[in-house]
Symmetry: C2
């Protein structure tokens, strides 16, 4: 299975293709790959699927840790359609890559859930930083990991999540270095969007979060921090992913990192003021 | 003249006295002294008075430098009543201390403007950081200069103000050290109040503002900056005061620093969202 195969090149259509068309292209295997940069006005979502026996605890976990796990939509038990997320969404086929976890370990990476879907599955869609990064870029705030062509650096912190049943663990943050004035603007912009992680949770000293070395992220890639820049930390959607793995459910499913669900929800509609 | 004389002690009434009553106490010389801490729900104002010949330029200066000079009210030429600021305000008597500038130099400190008022005077009232400090304190954010019983430290920066006629000079900032999470919250809170300086203009590296040494403020007192804290900088109402002095008008009047005009404008009413 080659996840990097791109039967059609949608690069030139990244801003004109609609989310509905994008999902159709994923469903028909015409699009495969990371979704960053596509349909910039629309929210992309982190995916978590758990059996209904664990769904209440996972929902409580999300609602108790809203900065890391802002819910964009929750499916009915057994339903792969989640109307809140978009027209004719089929969660089994519309995400370009899935991780299948068994007993908390990555067991397989698959292109669709045809073989894995269960009638007791509950779908959770969680807001993603791509939305606020689009807002930051439009406001003229440089994003170092984009400039350097890397994944955003992410770090495990020593901040315990609010536990719910089996789901716990520690907060994971993403970090973007910025000049002071840009950090202020970034706080203002992202505060308007609690549905996609909202305001940063910390600025400055990494040791306050238990991060020993910013040059050694736990996920993603290290980026350059220039003189006079401040590291700005946001709660990260990897948090629910690590909580899902830590819970060691017999079976659970997530998206493949970077391969997100494209929704019909405009980023603009997520602004709370 | 002893400005520190307090014929009546209003300390026990600081939260119950109305702005109207407070101004009456000032007018009748029962209250003399700094106004910090009184009528916490109401905006206090910086005062600038210039002859009408300079008023248009000074108004342009304020409107071109809104973070340092947010206007709460502008009087009609010759009028000491400014209804926008409060009931029966008399600018000649209702400020507990005035600075009289001649040719840009402090010439006298007086208790009222009986001898100084001119029929061509125009009154400008400019928002003050006391308003947002009250908001920050209510949100549980410690203010170091308050904890240490000092004046807030203020610094001249190398950021040129937008010039208007004779009025120019550089931005003056106030600085409050905070933990990262408090700095984020402070950005959120103060962003709601552009009428009282709004969001910070910088966080972190003082050299980005041309500040050589945070332990040597140009105005006010130095405060302790603890490990892991970030200096957070707001545009400061001393900026118009220094611009006024720099303009070297034959005659101009300001408030005595810390001796502000109490207005009837609630801080809450200044929130833009």
């Amino acid at each position: 299975m080659n996840h990097r195969a791109t039967p059609h090149d949608f690069t030139s259509q990244r801003d004109t293709i609609t989310p509905y068309e994008f999902r159709q292209a994923v469903r028909s295997a015409q699009f495969r790959g990371p979704t960053a940069g596509y349909c910039g006005d629309f929210a992309q979502a982190n995916l978590a699927i758990v059996p209904v026996a664990y769904a209440h605890d996972f929902l409580r976990f999300c609602q108790s840790n809203p900065k890391a796990c802002p819910l964009l939509g929750v499916g009915e038990p057994g339903q792969w359609h989640v109307p809140a997320l978009g027209r004719e969404v089929d969660i089994r086929t519309d995400v370009p890559g899935y991780n299948v976890y068994r007993d908390g370990k990555l067991d397989a990476q698959v292109d669709n859930l045809a073989e894995f879907w269960q009638s007791d599955f509950v779908v959770f869609a969680i807001g993603c930083s791509f939305s606020f990064e689009d807002m930051l870029a439009k406001a003229g705030i440089p994003l170092r990991h984009v400039e350097e062509g890397r994944n955003v650096p992410m770090y495990r912190t020593n901040i315990a999540n609010q536990r719910a049943g089996r789901f716990g663990g520690e907060l994971v943050v993403s970090m973007r270095p910025m000049k002071g004035a840009d950090a202020i603007r970034a706080v203002q912009i992202t505060s308007r969007f609690p549905g996609v992680h909202g305001a940063p949770i910390h600025i400055g000293d990494p040791s306050a979060l238990g991060i020993a070395d910013l040059s050694k992220p736990d996920f993603g890639d290290a980026v350059t921090i220039r003189d006079g820049e401040l590291p700005v930390y946001w709660a990260c959607g990897v948090t629910p992913q690590t909580a899902l793995m830590g819970a060691k459910l017999p079976l659970a499913i997530g998206h493949r990192p970077g391969y997100m669900l494209m929704t019909d929800i405009t980023n603009a509609s997520l602004a709370v003021f």
